[in-house]
Every structure is written in C-alpha cells, then in structure tokens.
Symmetry: D3
C-alpha cells in the first residue's frame, strides 16, 4: 500500500490534515539550526555575546525566534493555528566557533509543534544574519533540522 | 578605527539603521537554500514535482516563500518595512537530488532586500519540510545564503 | 420579546459575544462562493486548471483560502480567535462554466466556524480575481453564502 | 500571439508581476459588493443603521473594510505590498433593500489598487454577515466587482 | 529566597513562562486607561460621542481595542498565544471630563489575560488619540493599569 | 467656520484622511511614556537593567517597541500603512525612579509618524509590564504623549 502526502488530497490539491479526531496530548519538539559567520564577525561577537552571554545580538535573535514560532501558522500555509504553552530559544557557540540555535516548543493540543520549533530556530538564525550583515555577507545558515519530538503518534529522536 | 554593529547603538542597544539619508535606488537580492530529503521522499516527489514541474509541494512552497518575503519586517525585529517590486521563488532538484530554492527580491527604495530574499527562501524550505514530514523527519535545510545583491553601497556576488 | 444583535451591547456598542459558558463541541461549517469570469479567461483556464485539475491558478486560490481562513479573527472585528482542526478548499467549474469554491472549516471549540469558512471562500475568490485580472476586469464574485453548519446550538443546512 | 497569465512564469509557476520598471502614478480603484439579508434582519437594521446612518453594524463594517484593505498583500499571495494614500468605505441601502458597499482605494505607486478595493469591500461584507448571523444565515454576499480604476496602463469603467 | 523574573532564564535570557503544567481555568482581567484631551476637543466630542453614546470616535476606539486585544501575543514578545472567550471595551467620560476606557478580557485557559486587557485598553486609547490629533496634540494617555484579575494562582483587585 | 474631525466624513462615518495630494517630506516624531513600578520591582531592575544598561527586560521592551511601531497601521484603524526610515526606542530611569521610554520614528512620506512613535512607546511599556508582572501588579503606565514632531504642515514641540 502506497503512503500518500498527508497534505495533498486524493486529487493532489494542497490541504490541511484533519486533526479533529486526534487526542489532545502534551507535545514537544526541539529543533536546531547553525549559523556560520566569518572570523571577523565572530571576533566581534566574542567580546560581548559569548563572554557575557547577554549580548544584544543573541538576545534579539532569541526574541525574534520566540515571536517567529508564534507566527508559524501565518507563514506555513498548511500548519494548524495552535497555541503554545512554551517556547524557548537557546544560543551557544560551539567548539568550532559556530553559532548553535536550539528552539524548544511545547503545546497541549491535537497536533505537534515541529514546525513551530523549526520556524523559531530559522527566524532566530535570520535575525543573527540581519544584525551581522553590515560586516560581511560571508554568513551561512546550515543544518536546520528536528532533534526531537514527543507526544504524537510516533516520537522521534535524531541519532 | 573599529567598525561597529550597525544595529546597535553606542550603548549597545538594538536599533534600526537610519536610512533616511540613503538614496532611493533599484535594489535586488538573490538568496538560496537547499533542502535535503531522504530518498523515500525524493522518490515521491519525483513522480509529480520534478517531472511535471507543477507539483503541489513545490507550488505551495513557492507561494509560501513569496508571502514570507512580504512578511520579513514583521519577523526580523530591526528590518525596515518596505514594499517589494517583485519577488520570485524558483525550486529545482539538482544532480545530487537536493532541492534548491532560489528567492529573488527587488525593490526601489532606501534599503536592500537581502533579508527579504533570505526569508523567502527559508519559508519556502520550511514549507517543503512541513509537507514532507509525514513521511519522515530525515529532512535537513542547509546552506541558506545570499548569492548576490545589487543597488546598494556595495554590490555582492558570492564567488 | 425582541431579539437583539448579539454583537451589540445594551448601549448599542459593538462587542464580542461571551462564549465562556458555551460547551466545547466539534463544529463544522461549509461556505461557498462563485466566481464568474468572461469567456476568454475561462478558455485560458480550461487548458490547465480544469482539465488537469492541477493548474496554478486554482492551487494558489486554494492555499490563499486556507491561509485566509486562519486569519479570520484578524479581519472580522468581533470574531473570536480560535484554532482550526481542519480547513479544506475545493474549486470546480460547474456546467455553466462558473468557478465554484467550497470552503469547509472544522474546530473543537466554544464557537462556530461559519466566518472562517466564509472568509476562506472569499479570499480564494479574490485570489482567482487577482490572477485573472491581467486579461480583463469582467470578473464577478457572487453568491457567497453558508451551505451548512453543525455542532452549535442550531444546525443549519441551506435548502 | 497568445497572451499569458501575468502571475505565472513560463514554467507555469505562480509569481509576482515585476513592477520595478512601471511609472509611479496616482492610482485609484473603486469596488462594490452587495449584501442581501432577509427581511427580518433588514427590519432590525432599519431602526438604527439606515435612518440615523450611524448604526454600529455599518460602522463596524466600514472600519473592518478599511483595515482589511490595508491587509490585502498579506491575504492575496501575489499582491505587491504597497501603501495606501486613502481608503474609504461607504454603505447604503438601495431601493431594493440591498446593502451596497463601495470601497475606494488610492495610492501613488507602481501598481494598481484594485485588489485593495475589492478586499476592503469583501471584508466589510463579511463583517455585516458576522454581525447579523445571530438572527439568521439567510444572508448572501453577491456581485463583488470592480466599478472603476484609473492611473494604470489602461483605465477601466464598468458600463 | 530570592524571587526571579519569570520571563528570564537562569542565564538571564528572555523566555516564555512554561504553562504546560498549569490548570485550565476560567480567567478574567479588567484593565483601565484614561485619555485626557484638551477642552476644545472635549467640546467636539460632547456633541456626539458623549450625549448619544454612539459617536464614531468612541466606536472606532472600541473596535480597535477589541482587535488589539486579539493581537496581544503578536505584540508582546513573551505572551502566550491564546484564544479569547470574550473581550469588551467600554468608554465613558468621567466627572473630570476625562475619557475612561475599560477593557475586560476572558479566556478558559492555562494563563491569564492581563496583557490582553491592558493591550486592548492601550490600543483603544491610541485610536482616540489618532482620531483627535487633527485638532491638537494636547492629548495625554495616562494611568494604564490593571483593575482586577481572577482565575489564576492569585486573584488581584486594585484597592 | 467649524473645524471637523479629519477622520470623519460629512456623514459622520470613520474614514482615512486622503493624503494623495500631500508632499513627500522627511517627517519625524518623538513620543514618550513613563512606567512606574513598585519599589520591590525597581530594586530588581537596578541590579541589571539600570547599572549595566544591558538588562534583558529593557532590551526586550526596546525590540517590542520597534516591532510595535512597525505594526501601527495594523492596529490603529485609520492610520496609513507607511514605511519607516528609522525607529529608535530608548529607556532610562529618571531621578524619581520612573522608567522613561522614548520612541523616535522617522519616514520620508506623505503623512506623519506620530502614531508610530506613540505606538512604539506604548508597546515597549506594555512589554515592561508583562516582564515585571510576576512580582506585582503595582505597575502603572502613565503620561504617554507626543514630545515633538517635524516635517508636516505644522511642527509641534511640547512646552
């Protein structure tokens, strides 16, 4: 039996997935994205963002990510409009001097919040880009992916 | 002389860049993002999206990207609200079976449209993710970057 | 006893209807609108939209309708902000060569989704207008109406 | 020579129309829609809306229409985001006891405001529907159409 | 033991408050703001707004307040997106000829609606400002505050 | 001759002001609002916000204010949708331990940005409220007013 795109009708038209029969459960999702900036920009960020952990670039990105997650159903055409019980964005610099953004979304509802987590991470990344682009366009957003989800039909955890 | 973050005031507070003295010029930007889906999903897409070039997944992503580009200043905290003269999203599958999204934005204004192009490409990528996630979460959005910009103080073209 | 406008207070001021005491039930609504385009435009649409049922004009309208339904409470001043469990837009051409748009909305909540269904159908119709207006303004949107609702105090079905 | 859909690329993908080469001119558009309500509702409206011309139903609809016109490019996927120099919504009851909504939009820009006028009229009509639906769903929105446009390549005036 | 900002993480980053473990209860909040206009403007308002209680200035402000309350989570970065069971805005002129706006919000949910009530009152006040500023900028919005809340961990009532 | 409300038609209906004949000029506006928090909250803020001037509460409020200013025409029914060349929000604590928010907006256009400055200041104030309300509701937003405007028919400067 062939599995079909859940977002396409039998005629191939885009559609929402009907979640009216799904159970209301506690659902979480964690997504990650990585922003790679050139060395000169990273040096700038080091002074403030990384050492004090209170720099305005990362803080702006955190807020943009949270607000972006709340706008997910406005942006992604077939996403259900749902509330959020929580949304948290964390930003760290890893040992390879890459900026690692993690967005965790949580809801009690009939459908998962993977897209909210992914959208939050992506908007945070775009915001870092925006704030650093005055120095250089040698910036790349990469590896936006889901790390984990729980509470739906199938849990997922990236190996 | 040290160059500063254009989006931070002398006190380190986030701010818009004042563009009131900038010239009104024709500005364009082209951004690209790549979505890598697992083979099973790509096989699904092949049948419709890739061969006929009219599949509903890519068309939905194109529209979401265009609409997302129009929402850029709602999402990115320090972006100027500007109009758009044009926005075009193209999606192709390259020889490595990666989905390549290109977003071109154009405006006649006082500030560039890099963030519009990047946001349009990102939202299109997230939409492909959303429509394919019913099959698997083995999906990764990678290499979101600016390819080109013209019309501002400095043109940019990625080598 | 005189029945009053539910959206007006005793003083005649506009207000929301208080639904806090209403039961949470599964509610659906189906609305329809008809777009009449001149013959030259219909001939254009025939080649692609109607025969393959995958034309980009109707697909764009379907997506706009779904996204419009999600924005209902942003547009209609006294509508409650509610989620949607599902929203589906269908477009067919009837035997009189009229374009018939049907929008079905579904929610589990304290208030009905008639306005969501009507808004979704209307935005889909406006989108068809937008995409065809390059040919001619001999386009008319007509007969936007509710076909059916279930799950509230009184069901409704148009005769 | 065959005329093509301006909103479709050569490959048939939806796209904005590039207006970057168009002249900035003063542009206006007038759209109309008609709402037909059943007699019981019309009797209600008579007492307040129609005689004093200051009833809250029509005033709410006027405001919703103006606000809706401002949201046009958020709703219609391929509409350009543009400003508005003016937007005016008028509502009268004609001799057949139909509610006639007229929306006039005006901008100085590179593209017309037909969709803004049509969206404003439609949202006003939906708002009247919303405020009267407590009485009955015997309501129909009909004959949404463009009456006039000026300032673009071709003026239009409905015969 | 030191109480911390609920909207800041241990690292001092802004975050939402996780409400996933909170009980779903009926919650209400009432907020008030006062607009003081100069005498010339008040004289204008007297003729229509105050005597008939159906003036277009106050009615526009009421609608703007209700719609603004619905947009709260779009505006306030760390507010949860929640529905509203009801929102009511009242405007009266007190014995000192000040315009007193009261906004009541109500929801059945995991978090309170204080910010919705405060945002609704504020947007209504800004709208009165906007409609009267053609006469004079001698207008001041003052004393925006919460009057009452019920349904959460702690009720509140201003003395 | 009696001066009329610019936002009301001859019939008393709300309407935008037609600015199509106004000159495109550089326009600025500065608005201020004051938030008074109880002593316990101010003590908290002192440690971080006030001494380092980089506290997350004020930074969140600054960003919310800028983003709120960009949404002005979505919130205030009769405001024109216009761009912004700049928006800046500053927050200081004065000698009476009041939090003073100043919002400066700037545009090159046909209409002023008073409402943008006032909305930005108000949303920043509401955000401070939101972030501090976990401690106490003894918070008051007061004295929202315009300080200055330039570039329109009449300049304004508060005495």
């Amino acid at each position: 039996m062939k599995q079909e795109f859940s977002h396409l009708s039998a005629e191939g038209d885009p559609r929402m997935v009907d979640v009216s029969e799904k159970a209301v459960t506690a659902r979480t999702a964690v997504a990650q994205t990585i922003v790679v900036l050139d060395e000169a920009i990273m040096d700038r960020l080091e002074n403030d963002e990384i050492h004090t952990k209170k720099g305005p670039v990362f803080q702006t990105a955190i807020l943009a990510g949270i607000m972006g997650a709340k706008r997910t159903s406005d942006l992604i055409p077939l996403c259900h409009p749902i509330g959020l019980d929580n949304c948290e964005v964390n930003i760290v610099v890893n040992e390879r001097r890459e900026v690692v953004i993690t967005c965790t979304a949580r809801v009690t509802g009939r459908t998962g919040v993977e897209m909210e987590a992914l959208t939050g991470a992506s908007v945070a990344a775009l915001t870092i880009y925006d704030m650093c682009k005055g120095f250089s366009h040698e910036i790349e957003i990469r590896e936006t992916k889901l790390l984990k989800k729980t509470g739906g039909k199938r849990d997922f955890k990236r190996a």
